[in-house]
Symmetry: C2
Subunit: 157 residues, 2 copies
């Protein structure tokens, strides 16, 4: 299994996460936009995810709950802008505990020989907001999600 | 009348626009969130603006048309995230001709002695996307909007 690569440059406002997946872009797009499959890959390992809403279309909303072992819930939500099947989507991303620290996430799927390069670029309101996400373990959670997504894509071939 | 200040640093993804306005934050917030007043200040001088939708609340949508002298229309739209009266709002901002180049705009109002510092920070998906907005005259249009807003705020006191 390949690894997840991060590009987090000092003084910038974005986090880029790249993972090569063993399936074609149309399959990967179908997997990452399927609300039924989200609980099987999205979020850190030690939390479970419940999808409350996920309308993958321009203007559509999404809202997920992350649930810990004691049943405490944390909500994440946002709105889709551009959605181009098998290629790309753009959405906002808000942790409801910090509603002013909205991020803008662009996920791009690029066809490779026998696979897909999944690139998620998250842009944050400030360098400080981005650095806080990094410090809070965002990349670790992203890596755990990517490992599960990689296995899930293979299982859906 | 004071001038509009821009912070546009090389290699960064944001544009910060700052203007001191001669009215208190609650008045400024009321003016900038009033759909009836938008056509009197929003957008470059040579275009008129029509508000199609403007729901200033978390999850609310906005959509404006810029209309040129020949009647051609260009649409801008997005969604509000955080909205804190008299203090701040966060919204997305999309030119519908380039739906993947979404920006995230945070407008912050800070009370000054006898006025308000209006700070609009727009974060773009990439340095290239930000630089393209600058090259296309975004700051010039912003400055024209700020001049009209400054006069409008005084007229609403």
């Amino acid at each position: 299994m390949t690894d997840t690569e991060f590009v987090i440059e000092p003084g910038r406002q974005d986090i880029v996460m790249i993972r090569v997946l063993d399936g074609p872009p149309d399959l990967v797009f179908r997997v990452v936009t399927d609300p039924e499959l989200i609980p099987r890959w999205w979020g850190p390992h030690h939390l479970s995810t419940r999808v409350e809403r996920m309308e993958v279309a321009p203007g559509g909303r999404w809202r997920f709950a992350n649930v810990d072992a004691r049943g405490r819930e944390h909500f994440f939500s946002g709105v889709y802008h551009a959605v181009v099947p098998a290629e790309r989507y753009v959405r906002t991303w808000e942790f409801e505990g910090a509603p002013e620290e909205v991020a803008l996430e662009t996920v791009t799927l690029t066809a490779l020989d026998g696979g897909t390069r999944y690139t998620a670029r998250s842009v944050h309101p400030s360098v400080e907001a981005r650095d806080a996400i990094v410090k809070a373990g965002g990349p670790r959670g992203g890596r755990e999600s990517m490992d599960r997504l990689a296995a899930l894509v293979v299982s859906q071939m």
